[in-house]
């Protein structure tokens, strides 16, 4: 059951639906009765991407295709990866990212669509010992698009993987990251922000499996949901037998800014080792009325006060991004969205 299989076989019954535990809140089967025709090749100009100016190395996939990004041992790189959908067809993309020992990469990834497309992206990301990858994802899909991105991350001991996903949702949007964590002082940060309005939907799903001793995982996901939008967070941390001294923290916090907004969360811990320290926290609620009152009392108009508080709320996640230039881009993007 996967969108990738459904696209390959053109069989709608392969689509995952709400009866599949991992897709209970992101039902594709109930949504898509007929698969759209495969996307046609797009030859035109796709315009500028959000991170274009930050890097020279651009990988652009329009309506599917394959890309490969390799960084040799000890080298440093900065790359832009754009997954663009044009039109209303269905397509799949495949990206391989390979970091040799001690390599460092900043990957600036974006999802862009302009209509009711159905896109599936598979990423395989491998980090050898001592490699460092910061993956920054901006998913700004069209409100009618259906987009599923699935990344498999394989880490070697002492590797360092940091990720921040910023999403504005779409008809159905899912960003899934599955990390094989070997422990051995490898470290993982899996952050996310979702800012949803209208009838948009966004699903952040992560699974981290600790298989060896001394692993660290730190996760902070925050979301703001307005109108009739729906935010989904599914985070799972697994600590296998023997993966002692694992330190894992997970936090998910969401603000619901309207009566018809919805947030569904499932922060899971699955622990098979005893010498661990694992915790998760989850809060869902309205904006802090006291803070809002304080701001308004200081003469700040309500709309601006709300935007400001929300900006501060998600700012905590954006601030954790290592790459300063990307931090600036995302902060500006979020500010515009909140005031737009």
């Amino acid at each position: 059951m996967s969108l990738a299989t459904a696209l390959r076989t053109r069989d709608v019954t392969e689509l995952p639906g709400k009866r599949d535990e991992a897709w209970r809140w992101t039902d594709l089967r109930g949504l898509i009765r007929v698969l759209p025709a495969p996307s046609e090749r797009f030859e035109g100009d796709v315009g500028q991407g959000p991170f274009d100016r930050l890097a020279d190395d651009h990988h652009v996939l329009v309506n599917g295709g394959e890309a490969r990004i390799d960084v040799a041992a000890g080298k440093k790189a900065l790359a832009v990866l754009r997954l663009v959908s044009r039109g209303a067809g269905a397509h799949a993309s495949r990206v391989t990212v390979n970091l040799a020992a001690g390599a460092r990469l900043r990957l600036l990834e974006s999802y862009e669509s302009d209509g009711a497309s159905l896109a599936q992206t598979t990423l395989v990301i491998m980090l050898a010992e001592g490699a460092v990858l910061e993956r920054i994802v901006l998913a700004q899909d069209h409100e009618d698009a259906v987009s599923v991105s699935q990344a498999d991350v394989l880490l070697a001991p002492t590797a360092d993987f940091g990720q921040t996903v910023v999403a504005s949702g779409s008809r159905r949007q899912r960003i899934e990251t599955v990390v094989a964590h070997p422990g051995g002082r490898a470290s993982v940060r899996l952050d996310g922000v979702y800012l949803l309005d209208g009838k948009r939907h966004s699903d952040h799903t992560t699974v981290v499996t600790h298989t060896g001793v001394d692993g660290v995982t730190n996760q902070l996901v925050k979301g703001v949901v307005r109108d009739q939008a729906r935010g989904v967070f599914q985070g799972r941390i697994v600590v296998n037998e023997g993966a002692d001294r694992t330190d894992a923290r997970m936090g998910h916090h969401a603000q619901l800014l309207s009566d018809r907004a919805e947030v569904d969360a499932k922060p899971e811990l699955e622990i098979y080792a005893d010498d661990v320290s694992c915790a998760h926290g989850n809060t869902v609620g309205a904006m802090d009325e006291d803070a809002l009152f304080y701001a308004r009392q200081r003469g700040i108009p309500e709309a601006e006060a709300r935007a400001m508080l929300t900006e501060a709320f998600i700012g905590q996640v954006i601030d954790r991004i290592w790459f300063e230039a990307a931090r600036r881009v995302l902060r500006t993007w979020a500010g515009k969205r909140l005031r737009g």
């Binding site: 018809r260 499932k266 922060p267 899971e268 320290s277 915790a279 926290g281 869902v284 309205a286």
Partner: protein
């Protein structure tokens, strides 16, 4: 020296599951297996009216069409539903009975278990000691219910379910299956078809039940399942506290316990439901035997400002699979769930709660403490949801897991579904092992390792123990110690 003696006795009693004895009591069985005739047999045995039989047969029909669920984090071989007795009852004399007519062998069983069935025995205790009425369910039937007269004086109905069907059909018809519908789930549906007995409580408006009510479940017969059904109705402004306890003999085969508990609270009413579950957990080494405890427990807070509080101490059963839940329908109603689940040996538990906020300003609180030791697996699974109309809904959840040993597992699977902007949900969870520093500190003060662990564990579960009625809290504390015996070192 009393303390020394107590410790010696305590250690001796820890050797094995102390309720594991079998009593040789003459019993009536239904033929083995399950079909419509067995359902008719059970109904006939209990002299039930036609409507009850029809209800059962309808449930059985629906059950045949259902599939056994498999989503819980528990593993067990497929249950052969035809290889079990669905009705086992101690042979009894006909006609209404007083305690004196109850088979002395059965009384002996309860005496051995420390359950006071003679009212004077309850009273004979220390002056001012709390009293509680007992409904004793032995395999498929209720053998005796105490203090009925005294309760009747204030209008409280406390009797076995079979009696309620005969004596108060209008209440049973109105409420039975109204909280847990017949085809709610596979095991609840099976229960609806073959349920044999259980307790029925009705507390009239404005009455505060003068004593604790309790049911004591005992599985004795071999190859039999226990399917009891409990229904408690607290009418407007009333209050009742209800306790249940359970044990079973040690056997190599698994026995199924699929109960259904339905609670209904009207305006301003409150039910406090406490469970100390100590079914036989199976052999700790091989995992052989033990009870499958697949229970559906649900409360419907229908009235405004009504309240239901579930407290459970789960130490027994080879597999526990249950989620005592609250449907918070009435405005300002509240639900609470306090749980200690301990697994040791090869036990598996997948337990938690569901708080479904439907009404405005509803509140819920979940405190769950899971302890896993040995080669066991302990899962907290819970749902907190707020309907769009549940403005001002509030939930606080805390679930902590403690791991003792290298081969055990602890999982936390909370589901949070917020569907309106005016509700507030908070959830926090931790999973750790016993702190070395704390252990060291306690041992440095002269406690043995075992005692130090007990002290820390009791501290860990304190929040929940506090919620138990006094007499159960002491029992539960001991039970916690016993359940963890042999898990350290």
């Amino acid at each position: 020296m009393a303390a020394v003696k107590q410790t010696v006795e305590h250690v001796a009693s820890l050797e094995k599951y102390k309720h594991g004895f079998v009593s040789d009591i003459e019993q009536d069985f239904a033929p083995k297996g399950l079909n419509a005739d067995i359902v008719r047999f059970i109904s006939a045995k209990k002299d039930e009216p036609q409507w009850m039989l029809d209800w059962r047969l309808d449930a059985f029909e629906r059950w045949l069409a259902m599939d056994e669920p498999d989503w819980a984090k528990v593993n067990f071989p497929r249950i052969d539903y035809q290889d079990s007795y669905y009705y086992a009852a101690p042979k009894e004399k006909v006609g209404p009975k007083s305690l004196d007519e109850v088979d002395p062998d059965i009384l002996e069983v309860y005496k051995k278990l420390g359950i006071p069935l003679r009212e004077q025995e309850v009273l004979a205790g220390v002056e001012g000691a709390p009293r509680y009425a007992v409904d004793a369910v032995f395999d498929s039937v209720s053998v005796v219910t105490t203090f009925k007269k005294e309760l009747a004086q204030v209008g409280v109905i406390f009797c076995s379910m079979s009696e309620a069907i005969r004596e108060h059909p209008e209440l049973v018809k109105q409420y039975l299956g109204s909280v847990v519908p017949v085809s709610d789930n596979y095991f609840a549906c099976l229960n609806a078809a073959v349920f044999s007995d259980g307790s029925f409580v009705y507390v009239p408006p404005g009455v505060r039940c003068p004593m604790e009510l309790s049911t004591y479940f005992r599985i004795n017969a071999e190859n039999s399942g226990q399917f009891e059904r409990t229904l408690i109705i607290a009418d407007k402004g009333s209050y009742v506290s209800y306790l249940e306890g359970c044990t079973a003999p040690m056997r190599d085969e698994n026995q199924l316990h699929a109960a259904v508990v339905e609670l209904v609270t009207m305006d301003d009413a409150e039910i406090k439901y406490s469970t100390v579950q100590n079914w036989y957990p199976g052999d700790p080494e091989t995992g052989k035997g033990g009870i499958y405890n697949f229970v559906t427990k649900r409360a419907d807070c229908r009235g405004d400002r009504s309240k239901v509080s579930w407290t459970q101490v789960e130490t027994g059963s080879s597999i526990t699979w249950k989620y005592p839940s609250c449907i918070l329908r009435g405005e300002g109603s509240s639900g609470e769930f306090y749980s200690i689940a301990i697994t040791n040996g090869r036990q598996q538990a997948d337990t938690g709660t569901k708080m479904i906020h439907l009404g405005a300003n509803t509140r819920s609180r979940i405190i769950s403490k899971g302890i896993s030791a040995g080669k066991s697996s302990n899962t907290y699974r819970g749902l907190v949801s707020a309907h769009p109309k549940a403005k001002g809904a509030r939930n606080f959840t805390q679930c902590d897991s403690l791991l003792i040993g290298k081969h055990c597992a602890a999982h936390t699977v909370p589901y949070i579904e917020a569907r309106n902007g005016q509700s507030k949900f908070e959830h926090e969870a931790t999973t750790t092992r016993l702190s070395e520093d704390q252990l060291f500190y306690a041992m440095q003060r002269g406690l043995s390792q075992e005692e130090a662990v007990q002290l820390l564990v009791n501290g860990f579960v304190k929040d929940v123990l506090q919620e138990l009625p006094m007499e159960f809290a002491v029992e539960a504390q001991k039970l916690v110690a016993i359940s963890l015996e042999g898990s350290v070192g």
